[in-house]
Amino acid sequence: MKNHVWRPLFVAIGLVLLILVVRAFMVPDDFGVWERGYMYGWHRKGNEEDWKKVTVKYKTKAYCKECHEDKVESIGRSPHGVVPCENCHGPALNHPEDPPTLTIDHSRELCIRCHAKLLTPSSGRSKIRGIDPATHNPGAECSLCHDPHHPNLEALKRHE
């Protein structure tokens, strides 16, 4: 056969070889079929470690307790004891180094997440005391009258 027929074939073979060489350099060593098989486990293994390195922002009540043990204990006995500290105080991050003080959410919007009255007969929400945010002292910060750490109004009055 003539040369002009073979030439494109050599070009094609050359291209394939080039792609294979480039592939050998581009694809990382840890890319392959891992534990879950070809269908679900075909990936770069190192990425699992990348995900594990994400910084933890919410450190949980146990972390708060390391320094604020008395607070965590006493608040734990109040009806708001179930609410994690960081839900209102914000994520601890690296407190007390960074940030030295946490930004506390004092807003009405925070309280009414649970305490806006909704008719929810088939949910735990129905057991929580609620108000109508539109008529219950609109615009006022809840903490003017209610102590978020000891929210029971009757108990609050006794302390006065």
Binding site: F31, W34, E35, R36, M39, Y40, G41, W42, H43, R44, N47, E48, D50, W51, K52, K53, V54, T55, V56, K57, Y58, T60, V82, V83, P84, E86, N87, P91, E109, I112, R113, C114, A116, L118, L119, T120, P121, S122, S123, G124, R125, I128, P133
Partner: protein, 257 residues
């Protein structure tokens, strides 16, 4: 070759051909162990306990660096209101990042629908998140191997590898995937892989004041979550898809899709 010899040789050849290639494969003990690992993350949602406060959504967004005000989220809470006329009203304003504070149902585009208290038969909240399916359809459709399942059952996305084609977002029957507005890649709940691999719980589990969300290890028979899944009446979402979701729900109702 005489007849005896011919028959002998035939038997050897036929016997040899009958051995399946799989029988010649050497058994790798590591592979066998991986097929039944010690750890399989599983999630339990108690819809009775959920009050729709949305603290889980807030914590998730901050913990996982999902832009706070963008209308995308890894987890969200849906409200179901069933009225006397048999209709089901479902909403989840901004994924319930600020909780449910109004009795009005959000019907999108800034419009709301008023429902009178006396018309309500049932009303409850259902938190949603990635089901970390045993057979994840989102992983099957990925053309580049950017999304995958780990040995402990969590589906992750490799942000360096993802080309942003969006097949997985379309492939998920639960709609849990979305485009990350800043990284421009597919994004999804990964059970806070950085927390659970350190022995912590997910951010949403830690943020829930009512214990509506719990995480456990399905391979540990003494795990309290596993015990509930094995002994109580739990349900999963869209069972008919065969995806084998690993987020179990207590008190799931037929209205929940």
């Amino acid at each position: 070759m005489n007849r005896r010899e011919f028959l002998k040789r035939s038997i050897v050849v036929v016997a040899g051909m009958a051995v399946p290639t799989a029988a010649l494969e050497l058994i790798d003990p590591k592979k066998l162990l991986a097929a039944k690992p010690e750890l399989r993350w599983v999630f339990l949602v108690d819809t009775h306990s959920c009050v729709g406060c949305g603290f889980c959504v807030k914590a998730c967004k901050i913990e996982n660096e999902v832009p706070y005000d963008a209308n995308v989220t890894r987890t969200w809470v849906e409200r179901y209101v069933i009225t006397k006329d048999g209709k089901t009203h479902i909403d989840s304003p901004k994924g319930a990042i600020n909780g449910f504070t109004s009795p009005k149902i959000d019907i999108g585009q800034g419009h709301t629908k008023e429902i009178k208290d006396e018309d309500i038969v049932q009303s409850f909240f259902v938190p949603k998140l990635c089901n970390q399916c045993e057979n994840p359809p989102c992983v099957q459709v990925c053309p580049v191997g950017a999304t995958y399942q780990t040995a402990d059952g969590v589906v992750l996305v490799d942000r360096k590898w993802c080309i942003g084609c969006g097949y997985c977002i379309m492939g998920c029957p639960y709609g849990v995937r979305f485009f990350h507005p800043t990284f421009k890649v597919a994004e999804k709940c990964n059970f806070c892989y950085h927390r659970i691999s350190k022995g912590m719980k997910t951010a949403c589990v830690d943020a829930c004041p009512f214990g509506a969300r719990r995480i456990g290890n399905l391979r540990d028979p003494n795990d309290p979550v596993t015990k509930i899944i094995m002994t109580e009446r739990v349900a999963i979402l869209k069972e008919e898809y065969g995806t084998k979701p690993q987020v179990y729900y207590l008190g799931l109702s037929k209205e929940v899709r």
